[in-house]
Amino acid sequence: MNTPALRLAVVLLLLSAALTLLGVCVGSAGFEDLLGPLLQRQADAEQSALAAQIVWDIRLPRTLGAWTAGALLGLAGAVAQGLFRNPLADPYLLGSASGAALGVALALLAMGGAAGMLGGMMMSAGNTFSVYSGSLLVRLGLTGAAFVGAMLAVLLTLVLSRGVQHTLRLLLAGVVVGVVLGAATQLVLLFSPESLQAMQSFMLGSTAFADWAACGLMGVVWLLGVAIAWALGRVLDGLSLGETTARSLGMPVASIRMALVGVLAIATGTAVAQTGLIAFVGLAAPHLVRSVVRTGYRWLIVLASLMGAVLLMAADVLARWLIAPQELPVGVVTAVLGGAYLLWLMRRNAVAQGAA
């Protein structure tokens, strides 16, 4: 049993619990004591009901949505870095991000003005609730389009790279698909400038749209992904000693790679469909874990998931708190926070190496 890994897992779970409480209490008026009226029976019945509604219908699903989306991105990041044996690999590198963006752009084009509400939602978190119920149809459409777009883009990448035998070819195909689909997205937006604002909120990422159904879906996908990745974890360890060594140990490298690409694509596609393109969580989470414990892929994948979840949850709380009642796009917060922390890590390691 790997004690440092277990310790980190417990710390991350405790942080998750603390951030859930905080996430429930932070809203358009900054920190609000909603739990007080909720827990005190003697309190004003009307106030208590309102608090319960805000907590159960909006803040809790949103907070847990941030957790599950972050967990999916952390999982996908760890799998991508193991699969490509490249510390710079991130969940979006098989073209899923640009595919999802194109899907959303096309859906916005098809839906016309109705989708404009989505953009409005980002700007005024205060009346999120009223917009929320009205945009349900639109949102379902966009979520589906994003997921289908992400999956089709990964399939296109696989076709272009003629399978998964050559990881470099796979990476290059992913880059090509990303560039071409990105250009197509820009073209679509050129013809429907009214969807630009909604598109921007998707590109920056937001946890505001997560409801219970989204949480459930992401949770199930996450559990499945972790189970598969755990089963293949030792094979990823073997692959990290080199492909020839892995094959000499009797591992069916090609089919395992295919399974891992599947986990990567579905985890990323699900997260992107629910929360848009959240930057940096998938790239940074595995590195943050590695800076604390050195471990094989089984634990790395679990811990990177928890790290991604905590990262995105913390970013979500900050995004709602910092300029309340306005709200920052959560993707901006993850990029700034994650980038700063990674830079600090690099500096610390450089100093440590210089001293040695």
């Binding site: 044996r85 360890d237 990290s240 000693l241 080199g242 020839t244 140990l249 009797g250 591992m251």
Partner: protein, 269 residues
């Protein structure tokens, strides 16, 4: 477990030949590297493969291990290699490659335990036999004390010993090693020599590609290669073998007897 049925029958007449290749051809990136080799590696012996750079030594080793697409016939312990399930092959033939490792975050113990993968199901827990094999392998390469450390915290030579332990932990009948002495200092090269001799004494077959001719001359048998062909295959103590080695290196080295050993020295000094 199902794969146990695949265990090879080690008795009978096939047991004297560990690896057999006939008309073995390999092309890399469209260029023919091996031009139809016939080779027969005796079981229970240490065979070393030598030759100048680009002679095809590593390619032969990889083709014998079934790790390269090749044409021709290869048999492992009497069974056609292409018809063996990958897992059965992995149980009977262990491989130590040339420095391709990047697994810096893995613990030494976990690296050695990867050698037990052919014995395990992916989800199954490790058995007491796995633990015993890993401990034995780590002690044999004197890597036991670092078992809790990460591979990335070790020097190149220490890392090589861990990777050697990983190959030993398979406890395979046949052990193929490509440049196993890379990064090892002279005392640990001597330890490696002792280890190989102990393995051979247990009846294992060892095949190694070695750059250092003096080390390679400690083997039982030597395969001398040049330009994708076998120039000579004979006992290491044989003068004919020595002449073949000198010839493929364009007479730029000479093999001398020194203190009861064969030593290869540059011939122009």
């Amino acid at each position: 477990m199902q794969w146990r049925k695949g265990l090879l029958d080690m008795s009978g007449p096939t047991a004297s030949v560990a690896l057999l290749a006939q008309q073995l051809k390999v092309s890399l990136a469209g260029r023919p590297v091996l031009h139809g080799l016939d080779i027969s590696i005796a079981a229970g012996q240490w065979t070393s493969i030598v030759g100048p750079n680009g002679a095809g030594k590593s390619t032969v080793l990889k083709a014998l291990a079934g790790l390269l697409p090749s044409a021709g016939y290869v048999a492992l312990l009497g069974q056609p290699l292409h018809s063996l399930p990958a897992r059965t092959r992995a149980l009977h033939m262990a491989w130590l490659g040339q420095n391709e490792s990047t697994g810096d975050d893995l613990r030494v113990w976990d690296v050695a335990m990867l050698g037990r993968l052919p014995h395990q199901s992916w989800l199954g827990a490790t058995s007491p036999a796995d633990h015993a094999a890993v401990e034995q392998a780590l002690r044999a390469t004197q890597a036991w004390d670092w078992r809790e450390r990460a591979l990335g915290q070790l020097s190149a030579g220490e890392r090589q010993r861990v990777l050697l332990a990983r190959a030993l932990a398979v406890q395979a009948q046949v052990l193929l090693m490509d440049e196993p002495l890379a990064n090892l200092d002279p005392p640990h090269q001597a330890d490696w020599l002792e280890l190989v001799r102990a393995l051979v004494k247990q009846g294992r077959t060892v095949v190694s590609v070695l750059h250092e001719i003096s080390m390679a001359l400690h083997a039982d048998t030597m395969v001398v290669m040049a330009q994708g062909r076998i120039a000579h295959h004979g006992p290491c103590a044989d003068a004919q073998t020595h002449r073949a080695v000198e010839q493929v290196f364009d007479q730029r080295l000479a093999i001398h007897a020194l203190a009861g050993q064969w030593v290869a020295l540059p011939s122009n000094i």
